[in-house]
Each structure stands twice: as structure tokens, then as C-alpha cells.
Amino acid sequence: MRERIKPLLLPIAALLVFEAWMRLAAVQSDSLAPPSAIALALADALADGSLLAATRDTLASAFAGLAIGGAIGLVLGVALGLSHVLSRLMEVTIEAIRPIPSVALLPIALIALGFGYRMEIAIVAFACVWPVLIVTRAAVGGIEPRLIEVARVLRLTQLDRIRKIVLPAALPRIVLAFRLAAGIALIVAVTVEIAINPLGLGAGIMTAQQALRPDLMLAYLVWIGVTGFALNAALTAAQQTLFGRAALTDDNA
């Protein structure tokens, strides 16, 4: 028990010192608030449902974007991993588009799609295509050649080859890619909301800041951290229960 408490001592001490400093120095700030005020604001926002509604909006956009972007990345990744010709042909195009920061598309996305889920999903999807594509391409390209030979000997059709040999062999890394992309999806979704989109957790931060409520603003920030942590824990758990040992790769074993 004592061993479990030890790692918590430092953060708790830091919070107490911060609280004491804010109170004793009577700091008046529009950006900082004592931890106790943040905790109260967090409880209030949870109680009135506004925080949960914002979390739903952000997660819905992040997951929808992840699904669309991940699917595109997966299909392209498998195609490019299987065909060297295609991979060489697409290399310049992909490497030219990939470095564009997804957030840089915001002005265009706003005029084309307007505020709301559609714009956010489109930007999240753009950001999620690349990690899934790159990792899938590498995973498929790195499949043991003898497995491909087996497929050829069995005279499997192209579709069966992908379904029965390629995907199962590359699955652990693909799942890892999706977990990576899920983290990116949440970051991009919140960023889009902070920059433009008037919904979700990011917009909550901005509204609280403009309403001169640093306590609420920081409560949103803490909540985003909690959400990110929970998301990662849930995905790791899902990965292990759905795929068991097959999901373990060298990278995350």
C-alpha cells in the first residue's frame, strides 16, 4: 500500500504548494486558478452536464475521423505494401501531402464545410490517414515472404490473399497504428475546436477563457487529460482482450 502511495506524494505536494501560493500571495489572474477552485469548477461542469456533452461531441468527432481516416490509411497501406510499383508511383504524392499540418487546412475546411462535426471529422480523418498508412505499408511489406509463397501455391485470389494471409500477419502492427492514430485524433479534434469549431472540449476551454473563468478553463484542461488517459487505457485493454497475445508486438510487448 505504502509503495502505491509514494508516486502520488510529489504531485499532491506540488498541488498543495500551488494552492498555498495562490491563496497567500492573493494572485489575481485570468489564466491561473487555485487547484481547489479548479476541482469545484470541474464538479459543477460535470453536474450540469455541459462537460459530458462537450466530451461526447469531441469523442464522436475524433472517433468518426479515426474510422474514416483509418479506413483510408488501411486500404492504401495494404495496396502500397503489396505492390512495389504502386508504392514507387505514389511515393512523391504521399510524401508531399503527408507533412501538411492538418490544422493548416482549417481556413479551407471552414469555408468548404462550415462549423460542426463534418469539418472536424474531415480534419481528424486527414490527420489519421498517415500513421495508419505508413505503419500498415511497412507491416504488409515486411510480411515473411514464405507466407506470400504459400498463398501463391494455394492459388488464393487477391482478396483471399489479403483476407487470410496479409491482414492476420500484419494485424498486430495495424492495431498499434490505430492506437497511435486514436491519440492523434483526440489531439487534432481538440485543436480544431480551440481554433475554430464552436463545439466540444476545445470550444469549452475557449469559452471559459473568454468568460474570464480560469478555474473552468483549467478544469476543462484537466478533464481532457483524464479523457486522453482513459482513452488510451481503454484502447490498450480492448487490444489485449480482442486480440490476446496476437496483439503484442516488439514495440509494445
Binding site: 468518426a64 469555408i111 474570464l212
Partner: protein, 311 residues
């Protein structure tokens, strides 16, 4: 795998939902920033004045004013409250926007509320003292920045000798305190809050010295939407005309509506008078802005005054 499926389902349901709600859009959405300038629309929502005129209207809080023209063109909002400078720059850039009704104008109260607030350790005795200083504006080319540059020019100070940076309103107090900038261009209630916290002094009441009466913010729409919906525009104008006197005469109702929309604490909102609401908008009021902005090289084309305001 299951996660992806759920995600896909949620996504497509949401997209379908967004599409159908856009198709049914009888409702008009009015986008404004968290200031008192659109108080007439806030009152019209809260007091049921839009409803009385047969309009189903709701207000959308927009973080940055310069996003409003793009939001209007994408039909996310049908009517928005851009500042005069944002509107004219958007029109100058080729966005086909048209003003439909007045929102707020400068008057003595609002001009007195504007200040260049200077941090401790710096003394400003004359406009010349701003030379070489780092001055934070809520946006480069924003209302307060353009006014300040106009004031500098009138006082014979070259604006290029002042180093302007962007500092948003909520971060002004902390930026002044840390010495990140020498002065900020701000307005009430921020001036009072920073004065009370002994963060510095008022260096110049530049808006009061300019003493202008032109519009700060007005309601604008895309020309296409406004021409397709003349009846809606007419109802909107009538409702705003009815709500404006309430903003100007009933401080309690106005404060309540502003606090509700901006989510700012009511006590804080009550401290400052809302900007004067003025539903009428005349071409000559925009002429001054065009002159000022052209002189500051913010406009590239020659804007046709008659086309900027809907008849």
C-alpha cells in the same frame, strides 16, 4: 475492430444528422463574439422579440471575430456580427458580404471605455512615448488596433515605430504583469480589473480623443442569402430595431442577456455599460472606416459603398 465499426456508425449517423438539419434550416443562426456589441440580438432572443416577428433565431458564440466572414459564407451562420474592420477587409478580399443592420456604434461611453493600458515602470506622457514600445493588440488589423494607429498618425507618430503584437483579451492582464508587452490596447472591464490589481496605468484614452461615432460591429450576411431571403431580413431588421432601445435603456435586461450569451459572470458584466446599440446603418458611416483603412494600406481595392449595405 469493434471500435472501428462503432466509430464508423457513430460518424455516419452524425453526418446524416448534420445534413438533414442543414436541409431543414428554417432557423437562422447569428454568430457573434463574446462582447456586448450584439446585445440587440441577445435581447431579441431572450425577450422573444425574434419569435414575435416570426423568426426562429439562435445565437452562436464565435471565438475570433475574423472567423465570422468564413462562417457566414459556409452557411454555418446566416447572420454574423463582424467588426467594421473585419467586414471591410473580407469584402476587400472578394467575399460577397452585405451589411443588413446596425449593431453597435462608438459613442462617448464606449470611447471612454477604451484605453492603451501601460505596465508599471513605463510612463507615457505623450503619444511620442509609444515609439519603440511593444504594444499588444487583440488582433493586428482589429478594431482597437486600427483606431490606435489612426490616433498615432493624427498625433504625428509613425505607426511603424511601434512594435505591435497580438495579445487576446483574457491574457492581457497576465502579459502586462509579466512584462511581456509594454502596453495593451484594451477596453472595460479589463482596464478597471488591471487598474485595481495595480498592474499599471492608463497611458492614453485614444478612442475618447478620436471621439468618433461610426459603427463598431454590424450585422452582415452573404449577399446570396440576403437576396434570397428578403422577408427574413426584413423581420430581422424589425426585431433588432425593437431590441436596440432595450439595450440602451434597460441596463439590467441587457446585462442579463450579455452574461447569458458570453457566459461571463453577471457581476462582471454589470460593471460596464454595453456599447450603444444603433440599428440604423448608413453608407457614410462606413466611408470613414474605408478612408482610415485605406490610409493604413489595409484595403487593396476601391470598395463600392452602395453595394456594401443591403437596401
Amino acid at each position: 475492430m469493434r471500435h472501428r465499426l462503432t466509430g464508423a456508425v457513430v460518424g455516419s449517423v452524425l453526418t446524416a444528422f448534420a445534413l438533414t438539419s442543414a436541409a431543414l434550416a428554417q432557423k437562422i443562426q447569428i454568430g457573434c463574439t463574446a462582447t456586448s456589441d450584439c446585445a440587440s440580438a441577445m435581447i431579441a432572443v431572450d425577450e422573444g422579440i425574434f419569435k414575435k416577428h416570426g423568426l426562429d433565431a439562435e445565437m452562436v458564440l464565435i471565438g475570433i471575430n475574423s472567423n465570422i466572414p468564413a462562417a457566414i459564407l459556409s452557411n454555418s451562420i446566416q447572420i454574423g456580427g463582424p467588426t467594421s474592420t473585419v467586414f471591410l477587409q473580407a469584402a476587400d478580399g472578394g467575399l460577397d458580404l452585405v451589411a443588413v443592420s446596425g449593431a453597435s456604434i462608438m459613442n462617448k461611453t464606449s470611447n471612454d471605455a477604451i484605453a492603451a493600458f501601460v505596465r508599471n515602470g513605463i510612463t507615457i506622457n505623450s503619444p511620442q512615448d509609444f515609439k519603440g514600445r511593444k504594444v499588444g493588440a487583440p488582433g493586428i488589423g482589429a478594431f482597437l488596433h486600427v483606431l490606435f494607429v489612426k490616433w498615432l498618425v493624427e498625433k504625428g507618430v509613425d505607426p511603424k515605430s511601434v512594435n505591435f503584437v497580438e495579445v487576446t483579451f483574457p491574457t492581457m492582464a497576465d502579459t502586462i504583469k509579466s512584462g511581456g508587452v509594454d502596453a495593451v490596447l484594451t477596453a472595460e472591464p479589463f482596464v478597471m480589473r488591471m487598474s485595481n490589481a495595480n498592474l499599471g496605468t492608463v497611458g492614453a484614452r485614444y478612442a475618447a480623443e478620436l471621439a468618433r461615432t461610426e459603427p463598431i460591429i454590424f450585422y452582415a450576411a452573404s449577399r446570396e442569402w440576403a437576396e434570397k431571403n428578403p422577408a427574413t431580413v426584413k423581420k430581422f431588421r424589425a426585431a433588432i430595431a425593437e431590441a436596440a432601445p432595450i439595450v440602451n435603456n434597460d441596463r439590467d435586461k441587457a446585462s442579463a442577456a450579455i452574461a447569458k450569451f458570453t457566459k461571463q459572470p453577471l457581476d462582471l458584466v454589470k460593471l460596464t455599460a454595453p456599447n450603444q446599440s444603433e440599428p440604423m446603418l448608413k453608407p457614410e458611416q462606413l466611408a470613414w472606416w474605408i478612408d482610415v483603412m485605406s490610409a493604413q494600406k489595409m484595403l487593396q481595392t476601391k470598395l463600392d459603398l452602395k453595394k456594401l449595405i443591403l437596401d
